[in-house]
């Protein structure tokens, strides 16, 4: 878990996952792609999804965008789910959100993108449908971030 800058930054984009577990790396891939665009006022980070680390990363942010891979059954690899945890009232991002809520450390707005995965086996690289979805998610986040800025 880490961020690529120490400035507080109003907006943080956090990619969750392990780039050595194929599609599990989709969140990291999206964060890396956006990071290369050097969007002003935006911090980028990767995380293993551990709750305390996530809270540390998004605390104080006006907008936090989290990207993660998702296993479902049956699955449509590359299908994108978007969930918003607005104003700390929605409750669907597991332990990290719940813990942050109790401690008053939720960002003002939290948006989650989850991409349905096909292959979470060992090795680098995304499967084609998930790689394509990564591009679409990155474009949508770039838009959101531009609006937020």
């Amino acid at each position: 878990m880490s961020s690529d800058a120490h400035c507080p930054g109003d907006v943080v984009v956090i990619g969750i996952g392990n780039p050595f577990r194929r599609d599990d790396g989709v969140g990291v891939a999206v964060a890396a792609r956006l990071s290369a665009q050097r969007l002003p006022g935006v911090r980028f980070a990767v995380s293993d999804g551990e709750a305390a680390g996530l809270i540390e990363l998004w605390e104080g942010a006006r907008l936090a965008v989290v990207i993660d891979a998702l296993c479902t059954e049956p699955s449509t690899p590359g299908r994108i789910h978007r969930r918003s945890v607005g104003d700390a009232r929605d409750t669907d991002f597991g332990e990290a959100v719940e813990l942050a809520r109790i401690l008053g450390r939720l960002p003002r707005r939290l948006v989650l993108f989850a991409v349905e995965a096909k292959d979470m086996g060992f090795g680098p690289g995304l499967t084609p449908a998930v790689a394509a979805a990564a591009g679409r998610v990155a474009a949508e986040i770039a838009n959101q971030v531009a609006i937020a800025a």
Binding site: S2, D4, P19, A31, S35, D68, T72, D92, F93, E116
Partner: protein, 429 residues
């Protein structure tokens, strides 16, 4: 490994399929005859992936094996490759690696103590209930973890950028001013928090349980072992790290790692403490006395108290190393490749980590062998669970699963299901 199972994503489609995370128990006529933990995946695929790559690659690649102890992987990988190439790094590099490891120990121990283990002793199902009733305590844990992470980032750099941990040293030495600012501020305050943690944990009510496993840890002259040392066991065996494949063979049928002679052993804080207590700092020793550790380290439930003592030590050691720190120029030395086999070790927060690489003359990795602490603890954990289940067969499955999870958490395994999600399968006949 990620903390996959720690997160429950609710989406309109069916719930996510979780990864490994099951305990299988077989009971024949009231006797537990078999216990299998499917909690951990050995890094065989990483070993295969490393073959054919350059000798400079292991620190970066092995850091992805465990999300909570990447530093221990990086440092033991560096030591192994340097050993293979016949290069010894200087004391400043060794000290900086030790300082970096202290950061990881602080962060990892704080996470395990506060978010995972303490709720077990206080009657909570997990950290959420605990945080609701005691937000101040959870804040203290998060603040300790943050200091540890800050130390790691100052030295190895943020993960969105290439790590500064290299074979031969560091890509760039951290700034002394930044390290001293940390030492004078949040790291100094972390010492008080770590002491308060040790005092708090010492007062927990620990279940009575004594295991008979051997203990294995590194021993390092004059220092509590962190970034280097020689493997020792509680029965007096010592062997060069390079000989770990012979001394710690894998059982071909169960894949469990045992000491030669089929002896179960465990590694981790309890083993480190048992074999190195006299090398702790005076303050950490005092904390160990507060927790009455000397006579109880064979009770795995007490491991939380040893982690707290080690956290005090890691903060003190970090302060000491920062005080003496001078940035080195150059910050790393050349490590020209050559044919050979090299071994590296480190004490990860959860136990001894071994890595061994064989290189061809141009530095290509011909073979890699990685033995993480959880692979070594698996047999000991299964044995603890076996005994525990035998004594609690009257419990219904859910309560029994909770007791098993608790027994597993004692060892802080580097697995995705360390929290509260194990499936229990009991076959009773």
């Amino acid at each position: 490994m990620t903390f996959r199972s720690n997160r429950a994503l609710k989406v309109p489609t069916p719930a996510r399929v979780e990864g490994a995370g099951a305990i299988s128990v077989r009971v024949d006529r009231g006797t537990v005859t078999d216990v299998k933990l499917e909690i951990y995946e050995p890094p065989r695929s990483f070993e295969a992936f490393l073959s054919g790559r350059a000798h400079t690659d292991p620190p970066d690649i092995t850091a992805s094996i465990c999300g909570i102890c990447p530093v221990a992987y990086q440092i033991s990988a560096c030591s192994a490759v340097e050993d293979a190439c016949g290069v010894g790094v200087g004391e400043p590099t060794i000290d900086l690696r030790r300082l970096l490891s202290c950061g990881e120990w602080i962060a990892s121990h704080a996470l395990h103590i506060y978010l995972m283990h303490a709720p077990d002793f206080l009657g909570y199902d997990g950290v959420i209930g605990f945080a609701r009733d005691h937000p101040d305590l959870v804040e203290r844990g998060l603040s300790l973890k943050k200091v540890g992470n800050a130390l790691v980032e100052l030295i190895s750099g943020p993960t969105m950028q290439p790590t500064k941990v290299h074979i031969g040293g560091f890509a760039r030495a951290p700034s002394g001013t930044q390290l001293r600012a940390l030492a004078g501020g949040s790291l100094r305050r972390a010492l008080d928090d770590a002491v308060a943690t040790a005092e708090w944990v010492a007062g927990f009510d620990f279940p009575t349980f004594v295991h008979g496993h051997e203990l294995l840890a590194l021993v390092h002259p004059g220092q509590y072992p962190i970034e280097a040392g020689v493997p020792h066991t509680s029965s007096g065996l010592a062997f060069p790290a390079a000989a770990f494949p012979e001394h710690l063979p894998e059982d071909p049928t169960t894949a469990n790692v045992l000491l030669t002679g089929d002896r179960t052993y465990i590694t981790g804080p309890a083993a480190r403490y048992a074999l190195n207590a006299d090398r702790l700092s005076p303050l950490a020793t005092e904390m160990a006395a507060t927790a009455a550790l000397p006579s109880t380290y064979r009770n795995p439930y007490r491991s939380i108290a040893i982690r707290a003592v080690e956290m005090v030590y890691a903060v003190e050691e970090a302060l000491r190393l920062i005080e003496a720190y001078e940035p080195q120029v150059p910050s790393s030395i050349e490590v020209p490749p050559r044919a050979g086999t090299g071994t590296g070790v480190a004490e990860a927060p959860r136990g001894t980590l071994f890595q061994q690489y064989t290189l061809t003359p141009d530095g290509t990795i011909a073979s890699a062998r990685i033995l993480p602490p959880t692979a070594q603890n698996q047999a000991g954990i299964e044995d603890d669970v076996h005994r525990l289940v035998q004594d609690r067969l009257d419990l219904e499955d859910r309560a029994l699963a909770h007791e098993c999870e608790r027994a597993i958490r004692n060892y802080d395994p580097c697995i995705s299901c360390a929290p509260h999600v194990l499936a229990l399968k009991v076959v009773r006949s």
